[in-house]
């Protein structure tokens, strides 16, 4: 799983330009899928056929980044955020474009740190003027944080885009490890544009029309110095989501996940996230409503160039997802009125 996570995390894929990640995943799972297709938003659907009910499991491919809005006559690039990225964290960071062009972000003269906003930032890719702009670096092109994947001591991993390539890696491993016959149909959806407001998940859920929704994403933790209070720590197992700002998970789906973890002795935590949302925020209100739940991978420093997760959490999460997807899910009709 570490190798899969490494290549996925290092791949370029800001919201709206997930192509490289999509091609990589397609290649990784093609031998294990019954059907693979894409939609107009760029989400990738990987189906394993089976009888009803239909379960949609999603993880988002996109990561935060920046977009070029203007190239001035001196060759400096003006940028705007793609997703929830802080201008403070960008100063001095290296960025990378799809074609490999590199650059760094700095700011105009400011008196105080708090003056720093997007209008003060610029990206320098080494141009002398706007005449030598390369083909791949034009208005509308996006760049991502550029940091290599590192294995840390204590079985932890650090990389950009753990949010949510950790989820993607987990889904890829799960697809490979499922038994040849399944008790139900599963569609793994690698979604686009989650960071811009769960957009890929919205159209994907409409298209697939699942009976149940599951998402795998990272979640914030409360175990760092003077962190905001939150009952999730790194290394204590995957978190079963109770709620975030986008969803209250269906109690029956949550129970299924918790009971599966307990039955198989998988450590888990319960996640009550005050900020943030994830794919099932869009999935659970698609069409006539879809009972949904989520497994979260605890992650420190989310939306920075150095997001840290614990390998054990990832492995336990994979185990939990695998067991949950081979369990018997209730007939969706039984849930009405619950």
């Amino acid at each position: 799983m570490e190798e899969t996570l490494k290549i996925l995390a290092e791949t370029f894929g800001p919201s709206g330009d997930e192509e490289d990640v999509r091609l990589l995943i397609k290649d990784l799972v093609k031998d294990w899928a019954d059907r693979i297709f894409e939609d107009s938003m760029g989400s990738l659907f990987v189906t394993r056929e089976g009888p009803a009910p239909k379960i949609m499991v999603s993880a988002h491919m996109d990561e935060i980044g920046i977009i070029i809005t203007h190239i001035n006559e001196n060759g400096f690039l003006r940028i705007a955020p793609v997703g929830g990225i802080s201008p403070h964290l960008l100063v001095g960071q290296r960025l990378c474009f799809k074609d490999g062009t590199a650059g760094t972000v700095y700011h105009e003269k400011i008196k105080e740190r708090k003056e720093l906003d997007w209008s003060k930032l610029y990206l320098d890719i080494g141009l002398k003027d706007n005449k030598e702009v390369e083909n791949g670096v034009r208005i509308g092109e996006m760049a991502c944080l550029d940091q290599p994947f590192k294995a840390l001591s204590g079985g932890r991993f650090m990389a950009k885009a753990m949010d949510d390539r950790a989820g993607c890696a987990l889904l890829v491993e799960t697809i490979k490890n499922l038994p040849s016959t399944l008790p139900h149909e599963i569609c793994f959806v690698f979604t686009a544009q989650e960071e811009l407001g769960l957009r890929g998940a919205k159209t994907a859920a409409y298209r697939y029309g699942p009976d149940y929704g599951l998402a795998v994403d990272v979640t914030a933790v409360g175990d760092t110095p003077k962190a905001p209070t939150m009952e999730v720590s790194l290394g204590k197992g995957p978190a079963v989501k109770v709620k975030d700002r986008s969803v209250f998970c269906h109690p029956r789906v949550r129970r299924l996940l918790v009971e599966t973890a307990e039955k198989h002795g998988i450590p888990y935590q319960l996640e009550v996230l005050e900020r943030g949302g994830t794919d099932i925020g869009a999935v659970h209100i698609s069409r006539e409503g879809v009972p949904s739940g989520a497994i979260s991978i605890p992650c420190r420093y989310v939306h920075t160039s150095s997001e840290i997760i614990d390998g054990r959490d990832l492995n336990f999460a994979a185990n939990l997802l695998q067991k949950a997807l081979t369990a018997t899910w209730p007939n969706p009709e039984e849930l009405h009125g619950q």
Binding site: G16, A80, S119, R199, T203
Partner: protein, 334 residues
């Protein structure tokens, strides 16, 4: 025709006058149209194949106000409908209710303001509408809470090739769609003249669901920043530089493929184009692109100075160039 369209009152939720104008203009032409439950005017041009079609959208509604209470004094309290800068409201002429009664936004005159009051702009709470009634009873004969209020400002030609007026956002887009429906171009497409864009792109959401387009282009009006206080690097769009192609806004990330189609269409049509540098603010692009299974959508806009005010300014050549771009793009879709 821009003047006729812009002069109509059509605050979000009350687009009837604009819809009637468009319906009248389309009478006797070979297009079929329907009005949905929200009030969107959906017009189909050409029979074409039975497959999914191309959708163009422009919103009929404009920002404005709504009367919320009649005070004992006969003065009226109001709330904005859509994104309005309350600092620019004072002393503006208004048309109130279905009959378009004249009124003005009143505030405490400078003589009666304390020193520190003079330094602050008026806030919405300290403003009111004066429609010339001596008390509540008199006012109630003509006005009721919920009445729509629009700016009263007639579209006027300025200088060489400019227009001043209200509601160019998005009557300029309506004009472009109307021209494409009226002219003899042989195109097949659906035109959605939508409602309630300014309060959250509501009309577009149901219009796109109903039309189930294969691809969509939103024809909008966007803020121009080519005025002295804006630094050059930060100018979102400029007047006279042609249609503005969006790369991203709060609601949509426009695909590279769609942006390139538009840029190519501009080049083919021989008109200048620019990119909209602002990545904030929303358009119908979001609602349409996320409709059902997703729709490839792009946004092109006429740049407009002092947008969302009673006196915004557009350049005629930008409207014509946007029309040319959209026409050429449509031609490629046939």
């Amino acid at each position: 025709m821009l003047a006729e369209l812009a002069n109509l009152s059509g605050v979000s939720g009350n687009e009837r006058a604009v819809r009637h104008f468009l319906q009248n203009r389309l009478k006797g032409t070979r297009v079929s149209s329907t009005v949905d439950t929200m009030g969107n005017l959906l017009v189909r041009k050409g029979a074409g194949s039975s497959g999914r079609r191309v959708m163009l959208s422009a919103h009929m509604d404009e920002v404005g106000l709504m009367v919320t209470a009649i005070q004992n004094s006969g003065l009226l309290k109001f709330k904005p409908v859509g994104g309005i800068d309350s600092r620019m409201l004072v002393a503006k002429r208004l048309r109130i209710g279905d009959k378009g009664l004249p009124g003005v936004i009143g505030a405490k005159p400078v003589h009666l303001q304390e020193k520190d009051e003079q330094k602050k702009p008026f806030r919405e709470e300290s403003l009111f509408i004066d429609a010339g009634f001596a008390g509540r009873e008199e006012a109630e004969k003509h006005i009721k809470p919920g009445d729509y209020v629009s700016f009263d400002s007639a579209c006027t030609a300025l200088g060489e090739g400019y227009f001043r007026g209200k509601a160019f956002d998005d009557r300029a887009g309506c004009l472009i769609l109307l021209e494409l429906l009226l002219e003899n171009n042989g195109f097949n497409f659906d035109a959605a003249f939508t409602v309630q864009e300014e309060v959250g792109t509501r009309g577009a959401e149901v219009a796109a669901y109903r039309l189930l387009p294969q691809k969509a282009l939103v024809v909008e009006t966007t803020a121009a920043g080519d005025t002295p206080e804006t630094e050059r690097d930060a100018v979102s769009t400029s007047l006279g530089k042609g249609p503005a192609i969006s790369i991203m806004d709060r609601t949509i990330m426009v695909s590279r493929e769609m942006r390139e189609e538009l840029a190519k269409a501009a080049e083919k049509a021989g008109v200048p184009y620019q990119y909209r540098r602002l990545t904030g603010a929303g358009t119908e692009g979001g609602a349409i692109s996320l409709s059902r299974e997703g729709v490839k959508t792009a946004v092109v806009s006429v740049p407009c100075r002092y947008i969302h005010s009673p006196h915004s300014v557009v350049k005629e050549s930008d409207i014509n160039d946007t029309l040319s771009l959209v026409r050429t793009w449509l031609e490629y879709q046939q």
